[in-house]
């Protein structure tokens, strides 16, 4: 009787314990399940923090810069002499260099990229496409420093054969090489845009007796125009932010000119020059770095937003 009682009691407690233990385990599991999304959200916040970090650092030092150099002098000045006895901080020479090199790049990349996209999406057989496309993408995978080397040691000497007045560092050669660099980007984005034009439209035109060229010109390109233009804008944005090619091949002369045979400095190259030198923290030159970077940041941000707006707004729905 005593033993039985004991057993029963023991049995009861152990079952109760088991249940409690099970509950506890489940509670741990449930809290764990609830914590995971919070933890992952914290990881996702790193990208937000990065943006805040970029905007905050650029903004705070830029404000400090504008306390020393009036904003109008910076944005309308055509002379940039940061290290002279009487320093002048006009950003226009840098903007000129940046815009000129990007336009040269676009002149190279837009027609060639678009024509490559037309060839790959409209003319090439599946087999040819499978060989050409990865090869073209190799161009996009080559580090920009290698392009810089190529521009400086090969393209510039080559161009000098045709244009003897070309300087050893000039804006033309890096502009062309940047164009080559963004060909795959424009080609692949335009190709995507053209491939998403429904086949029924293409076949309709072919059925009416149009040649492939006519179908491309009058049906496919108009239908894919928003995507194509967006790819151009993104290409320019890439060229504006590109650093090493222009730093190596265009030198550091702060020319305010439209003569592409001369050395011109871009915004990115200026940042490299100033950080590479010994601009002491707190000097006006040091702060000018952030003002230029801020200008560059806004330029590329606007371009990227514009590209997104173009491809969203004018997208034809089929």
């Amino acid at each position: 009787m005593d033993i039985q009682n004991h057993l029963a009691k023991d049995g009861q407690t152990s079952i109760r314990e088991m249940i409690q233990e099970k509950r506890k385990k489940r509670r741990v599991k449930e809290t764990f399940e609830k914590l995971i999304p919070k933890f992952l959200l914290a990881l996702a916040m790193v990208s937000i923090l990065t943006t805040i970090g970029i905007v905050f650092t650029l903004l705070s030092e830029t404000i400090e810069f504008f306390k020393r150099v009036p904003m109008t002098d910076f944005f309308t000045g055509t002379v940039l002499k940061p290290l002279s006895q009487t320093p002048e901080f006009g950003v226009l020479p840098l903007i000129m260099g940046t815009v000129t090199s990007s336009i040269i790049a676009l002149f190279v990349a837009a027609p060639i990229g678009l024509m490559s996209a037309i060839y790959l999406s409209q003319y090439a057989s599946e087999r040819v496409r499978k060989i050409f496309k990865p090869l073209l993408e190799l161009l996009a995978g080559i580090p920009t420093i290698v392009y810089g080397f190529f521009a400086f040691t090969f393209v510039t000497p080559l161009l000098r054969e045709f244009i003897p007045s070309l300087e050893a560092t000039n804006i033309l050669s890096p502009g062309i090489v940047m164009g080559v660099m963004i060909i795959p980007m424009i080609a692949s984005l335009s190709e995507d845009a053209m491939s998403s034009v429904p086949n029924a439209m293409r076949e309709g035109a072919l059925g009416l007796g149009a040649t492939k060229l006519e179908v491309t010109r009058k049906v496919v390109i108009p239908a894919a125009l928003s995507g194509i233009i967006a790819s151009f804008v993104l290409g320019i944005s890439r060229a504006i932010g590109e650093t090493m090619i222009v730093t190596i091949a265009s030198g550091s002369t702060k020319n305010f000119t439209l003569d592409v045979t001369q050395s011109m400095q871009t915004m990115t190259a200026y940042i490299v020059e100033v950080t590479g030198g010994d601009a002491s923290t707190g000097s006006t030159v040091y702060y000018s770095l952030y003002a230029v970077a801020m200008t560059l940041f806004i330029f590329t941000l606007l371009m990227n937003i514009l590209a997104r707006k173009i491809s969203q707004k004018f997208r034809e729905e089929y």
Partner: protein, 294 residues
Amino acid sequence: MDQAQEQKITRRINFRIVKNKMASGVFLAATLFGLVVLAMLIYRVVADGIGWLNMDFITGKLSTQPERAGIMGAILGTFWLMLVVTPVTMFLGIGTAIYLELYAKKGRLQAFIQTNIANLAGVPSIVYGLLGLTVFARAMNLGNVALAGGLTMSLLILPIVIVASQEALRAVPGFLGEASYGIGATKWQTIQNVILPVALPSILTGAILSLSRAIGETAPLVVIGIPALLIPFPGSIFDKFTVLPMQIYYWTIDSSLTAEYANLAAATIIVLLLCLLLLNSAAIIIRNKFQKQF
């Protein structure tokens, strides 16, 4: 229809066909242009550099004398840099992607994070360099060591890793998750044991491709201030360091003074491109070999 008119039409059709053929040739030529430049670039680099590429060059120390210079220091620097970048980007990138694809409710916050990532992907690399200089090197007082460079580089390629991982997760068929829920698994168990293993090959492919971007990137490190001086081999992530692209940069700009530096730069480019080729091949092999078809 009279004969003259018929002839006119035939001529017109022939003209259109010829025009189409010519255009096709022009388009092909444009496509080949990029490939020809690629071939010229590679030929140029190999012709300049192959004669200088030997074991002494790879294992040697930096030197001001071109004949004695080697790039072991830069190779080690690249290694330490990657030792920081790889875990940081994988952890943050995959974590963010899981949150955005599998946890976040479609709404303002999710859209905001997504737009923010798209915008970050378009920020020029040199701006990340300034962020790294200001925050990691100066404010956190790390100096221009591999850790500071690696963290900067991680932020730079993070958007790419996130987007690639998101695409990989999105490609996992829904019925796999449903089946897992059906047998009573919790959400995290499903992600950990079902969804992630299936998506992993694509995630890794994307991650490797982004890492190869970081290996070739120069601009942010120039801004952080990698010394052009001769420094001892880096032994940890807290040492001053240089990397292959930085060495190419310094040798290229000095080549107008000493012509042999151009050869050294070309030889270093060969080493860098071989590294990238190796990584890319690994990515393709992983994708082809381990990707499951459903």
